[in-house]
Amino acid sequence: MKAFTSKLGFAIIVAMVLAALFAPYLAPYDPSEYHLDLSFAGPTFAHWFGNDADGRDVLSRIIFGARVSLGIGIAVVGISLVAGSAVGLIAGYAGGIVDRIFLFVSDVFLAFPSFLFAIAVAAFLEPSIANVVLILSLKGWVTYARLTRGEALSMRERDFVAAARASGAGAPRIVLKHLFPNMIGPVLVNASFGMAGVIMIESALSFLGLGVPVDTPSWGAMIDQGTQYLLIAPYLSIFPGIAIMLVVLGFNFLGDGLRDKLAPRGR
């Protein structure tokens, strides 16, 4: 079962990544081309997922939307993972006052529910993709920092680290060559769930009009526009929602499978 779902998750992600990479070739139409004569035209063979209020092809917008969701997800998880792991490793390895300061700062960040924090910052910024990445990375690093700090703390006194220290390795070398490679498993598990979380929050922000700019083909924004016409054109919200669900499910499945393989302690 687990083997099946994690393979399924992986397959979904590969399909989505391919859709994002080859969007201009796969999308049957230009995602931002207006066809007012096709306004609210339901699903047909020519337009599988129908057309929105401006007659834009929903399927093409969903395919291009994969770029937005996955792009933001990769950027945020990448930045958070690198920055967070760096901070966490330093705090965990250094210990003492550095660690205490780190713990307090991360406690403060953790005092905000992630989604509320995103709204709080977004409220004061213009909607843009760069701002969404900034907003989500601003809190995203904390999870990775806490994780790597905990791992570093527990490994610091282990024999292999003592051996490295005795053979003359400096702190940067110990942290990068000895500590970090030993925690890549749990970090990857977190990154997989992190992708799911980031994509969900980005879509939610865009749904509220606080994420990507209007007219960017974003799944969250498409659902928002669709709900205005829920009674006459329900497919406008339904298809982008399925896209979000699939990609989030994909990363959750993958994360679940990775956790059993790479970080069995965290079950």
Binding site: F104, V108, P113, F115, F124, A196, A204, P234, G241, V248
Partner: protein, 306 residues
């Protein structure tokens, strides 16, 4: 011992809350540009700008503004709304009940689904039903509530006509919002309950209970479930904040007159004092509930080291 822990936990909250309040205060100052421009637009009249700047005390040094903000906070004064000059605290107080009602109902939905589902799956570990339930749970976690809400409206309000589309006119108005908000939590909790139950079932005291002839039902409900619920309670507590934040979306979908709607309306009106107030109140509620959960957990399970 316990009392000392609780007191220490409460004192520990203060610096965190202070820092949270500072972040919320500085958000408006951290943005590039003049907040007055942001609120009135760059082409506003000089006199209007000066007046607003004075009303929000933006003409004072930041340190003085910060002092004023914090002093107000201690008195429960969150400033006043730019659009209608009413105190932010009373605007929020008016709406808080609706949000709390929504969150509590969502919690009932979540717990009501999750505990039976988790116990059922654990008791039949590895069976088809177990796998189906857990597959459903993982899918449930991945469903965005801003999609589930409209879909529920389509099915139950539009097609079947059983429930109202939006608003808060009758008791039935709460059903769809509560399910929308509670579904993801239900999915998460049922996974939690299942794994917690499986841990308990394999323990010695359960083996003993079975050996002395306690029925399967008794083993599950009277012995294992009681202990298995402890970690579940913790997750429920930790998720209250997520519920309060998630309520923002649910309130928008169903036009539910809570703090979330107030926050979103204020964001679109650029009524920043109200925005700050809402964010502050929700995050404080989150911090406090987390601390309470921690304390409750220790009351429920005296073995936990203080």
């Amino acid at each position: 011992m316990l009392r000392r822990y609780v007191i220490r936990r409460i004192i520990g909250l203060l610096p965190v809350m202070l820092a949270v309040a500072s972040i919320v205060f500085f958000l408006i100052h951290a943005i590039p540009g003049d907040p007055v421009d942001l609120i009135l637009g760059e082409r506003a009249l000089v006199a209007d700008r000066a007046q607003l700047s004075q009303r929000l005390h933006l003409d004072e040094p930041v340190a003085v503004q910060y002092g004023r903000f914090m002093a107000g906070l201690v008195r429960g004064d969150l400033g006043s709304s730019i659009t209608d000059a009413r105190p932010v605290a009373s605007l929020i107080a008016e709406r808080y009940g609706a949000t709390l009602l929504l969150a509590v109902c969502a919690m009932f939905v979540a717990v009501g689904i999750a505990i039976p589902a988790g116990v059922f799956a654990a008791a039949r570990r590895g069976s088809f039903w177990d796998q189906a339930a857990m597959l459903a749970a993982l899918t449930g976690i991945s469903v965005p509530n801003f999609w589930l809400g409209p879909v529920l409206i389509l099915i139950f309000s539009v097609h079947l006509g059983w429930l109202p589309i939006e608003g808060r006119d009758s008791i039935s108005s709460i059903i769809l919002p509560a399910i929308t908000l509670g579904a993801a939590l239900a999915a998460m909790l049922s996974r939690m309950t299942r794994s917690s139950m499986i841990d308990e079932i394999s323990k010695d005291y359960v083996v003993t209970a079975r050996a002395k002839g306690v029925s399967e039902r008794g083993v599950i409900y009277r012995h294992a479930l009681r202990n298995a619920l402890n970690p579940v309670i913790t997750i429920v507590g930790l998720q209250v904040g997520t519920l309060l934040a998630g309520a923002i979306i649910t309130e928008k979908i169903f036009n539910w007159p809570g703090v979330g709607m107030l926050l979103l309306d204020s964001i679109s009106r650029r009524d920043y004092p109200v925005v700050q107030g809402c964010i502050l109140v929700i995050s404080f509620a989150y911090v406090i509930v987390n601390a309470l959960t921690d304390c409750l957990y220790r009351v429920a399970d005296p073995r936990v080291k203080l």
